[in-house]
């Protein structure tokens, strides 16, 4: 592996981080909720897909098409039933509720699927690659993930800026009370935002699962990646999240070139450096 290859792999990995972080960014941008169960939701999606593939024998792409809308529905319900209530119960409540949810999800997965490490078999597609140069090869899976991430971000961007519901969403994010006066049902709007967030996190969870192994307790450490991508890119900026994910991915893959044990540390240090010298993030702004 050369340095150029490391950078290319890092950029593609960044796409996955961005896809994963989009939901976190959206939920914070619209409802001011930091969803501490975000990482665990991705892991739940991975396990769900695993159970569906081995249980029904359906091909993976069918399972994906089923899982993602299912998660969107789940997101809408979670917001309406659980999170909406916590929004009214004080600023601490949302954090505690999502944290509690994270503990519950992790341990249910542990009971149901045991602590074993699993992988989701993506077939030949997951391992195939093509050569860019002699030393640089690009996997179809990472490239697809990256393109999916871009498509998801672009889709959300168009939804927010072009549709009526998206306008209501932005209005509710800016000033919930005034938006309600103008006829926006903030509870429905919040439900939609959470549905989008859950759908993207499910998609990211499936991509993670095909790429690397997972176990029930891995959610929190993945949440940290998403969080870092959001903060590095700039709070509330959709395309900043993509940039943040790519910075994080490149930092991790370059440091892995030096010493594989440094991978996580390098990502965290980049995050802390951004926090220290550019706390508003690389692309400060509000697109969501």
């Amino acid at each position: 592996m050369g340095w150029l290859n490391a950078i290319v792999q890092g950029l593609l990995l960044g796409g996955l981080y961005a896809l994963f972080a989009t939901g976190l960014s959206l939920m914070f941008g619209v409802m001011r909720i930091v969803n501490l169960a975000h990482g665990d939701l991705a892991v739940v999606a991975s396990f769900l897909a695993l159970a569906l593939v081995s249980g029904t024998g359906l091909p993976l792409w069918v399972v994906m098409v089923v899982t993602v809308p299912l998660f969107a529905l789940l997101g809408y319900l979670t917001q309406r039933v659980l999170l909406q209530r916590s929004l009214g119960a004080g600023p601490l409540a949302t954090l505690l509720v999502t944290f509690g949810l994270s503990i519950v999800l992790q341990n249910i997965l542990l009971e149901v699927f045991s602590a074993d490490t699993r992988t989701l078999d993506g077939g030949s597609f997951a391992t195939a690659s093509f050569h860019l140069t002699d030393s640089t090869s690009v996997g179809y899976l990472s490239l697809t993930t990256f393109l999916l991430a871009c498509a998801a971000l672009a889709g959300i961007q168009v939804f927010l800026s072009r549709t009526g519901l998206g306008r209501m969403l932005r209005a509710s994010a800016d000033d919930r009370e005034t938006a309600s006066l103008m006829g926006a049902d903030s509870r429905h709007v919040y439900g939609i935002a959470t549905a989008i967030a859950f759908a993207t996190v499910a998609l990211a969870g499936l991509m993670f699962a095909m790429r690397s192994s997972f176990d029930p307790s891995i959610g929190p450490s993945r949440l940290i990646f998403a969080f870092e991508a959001v903060v590095i890119g700039g709070l509330g900026s959709l395309w900043g999240t993509l940039l943040g994910g790519m910075v994080l991915g490149v930092a991790q893959s370059l440091s892995a070139q030096v010493d594989p044990a440094l991978t996580l540390l390098a990502g965290h240090l980049i995050f802390l450096a951004v926090l220290a010298f550019r706390p508003q993030g690389l692309l400060a702004g509000r697109a969501a």
């Binding site: 909720i33 930091v34 409540a93 505690l96 509690g100 949810l101 519950v104 341990n107 926090l275 706390p279």
Partner: protein, 345 residues
């Protein structure tokens, strides 16, 4: 009479006191309980005192988190950083020949020192993002510690300097230091919150901008709380180490500690000094009863935490307080008129 004369005459009839009679009675009861607890190693088998060490550690950790989040408004998910640093300080100091029991307060001091630069970084984040930011910082500390071969790298290390002490005496000493830690954290919170710092802290928590415009140095107040909380968690980490006689980086820097602290405080009642105490007792009882059910116990704990956050924002102590008006650690004032009980917080 002019208005001011009326007010002064009226004020002369009003008595203001911190403690209601119930607080004085319960204060005496608590002092008695503390004495009995201190005498326990002479009265019961060591299995009981060994279990109670865990309870005291939980009380200390929860009190520190309550001080941080309930009074300082700093919701951290990264206090395990200081539990870990405290534990490793004790290990490292014991390796240098320091008596391990003496190393516990030194470990707390080390944590306070580490907390100073950490707070510069962490305080750049607001609200919810502070929570996850502190978590990342705790991860960084873990990843740095496992790179130090002198303290055992990734596999952890045993505590040296304890082999010379008789086992019974060791158990009793560990118990006393854990009890002292629990009493010190509760007493420390009480003394801190009674004074000027307590007032400014509560003002900052309730409305930061208004507090700042009233002349309170918001960052200074928050940093003070952060340092104290770091020291308390560090001492708790030290006690955990001298109780288990070894340290493992993944266990001591685990985010599970934060989960415990948060749930104890939320169930017990955030923003009351009594909250962590009550919450720790409930949590400890649940832990003893449900220990055989493995992960289901954590599922239940998470669900109880969610339910408490949604429907019981004042926690169990909030419920007790609303029903009885009891306050074990009065940090507010009661106003009495003549003999009547017009009480205010």
């Amino acid at each position: 009479m002019t208005l001011s004369q009326t007010l002064i005459a009226r004020a002369a009839q009003v008595r203001v006191s911190r403690a209601a009679r119930s607080s004085k009675v319960s204060g005496a009861a608590m002092a008695l309980i503390a004495v009995v607890l201190a005498a326990l190693p002479f009265l019961v088998f060591s299995t009981v005192t060994d279990t109670l060490v865990n309870l005291f550690v939980l009380i200390a950790l929860a009190s520190m988190w309550n001080l941080l989040a309930g009074f300082g408004g700093l919701v951290s998910v990264g206090q395990q950083a200081y539990i870990g640093i405290g534990a490793y300080s004790v290990i490292a100091l014991a390796d240098q020949g320091v008596q391990p029991y003496l190393a516990v307060p030194l470990g707390a001091l080390t944590c306070a020192l580490f907390a100073v630069p950490t707070s510069w970084l962490a305080f750049r984040l607001r609200g919810d993002y502070f929570a996850v930011g502190t978590w990342v910082i705790a991860e960084v500390y873990r990843l740095l510690v496992v790179r130090i071969d002198g303290v055992g790298g990734g596999s952890g290390k045993g505590l040296s300097g304890m082999s010379g002490i008789d086992q019974t005496l060791r158990g009793a000493l560990t118990y006393w230091i854990a009890l002292a830690l629990a009493l010190a954290t509760i007493g420390g919170c009480y003394l801190l919150l009674r004074g000027r710092v307590g007032l400014s802290l509560m003002a900052v928590r309730d409305e930061e901008t208004a507090a700042s415009s009233a002349g309170i140095d918001v960052t200074r107040a928050k940093r003070l709380v952060y340092l104290i909380s770091a020291a308390g968690c560090g001492a708790a980490g030290g006690v955990i180490t001298i109780s288990s006689l070894s340290v493992n980086p993944d266990a001591i820097f685990s985010v599970q500690w934060s989960a415990y602290m948060i749930f104890i405080v939320v169930i017990g009642g955030i923003g009351y000094i009594e909250g962590p105490l009550l919450g720790a007792l409930v949590f400890f009882a649940l832990q003893q009863v449900l220990a055989d059910y493995g992960s289901w116990y954590l599922v239940l704990l998470g669900a109880v935490g969610v339910a408490a956050a949604l429907w019981l924002p004042g926690g169990l102590w909030g419920l007790v307080r609303d029903r009885t008006g009891l306050s074990l650690f009065p940090v507010g004032y009661h106003v009495r008129e003549g003999g009547g009980d017009a009480a205010s917080r």
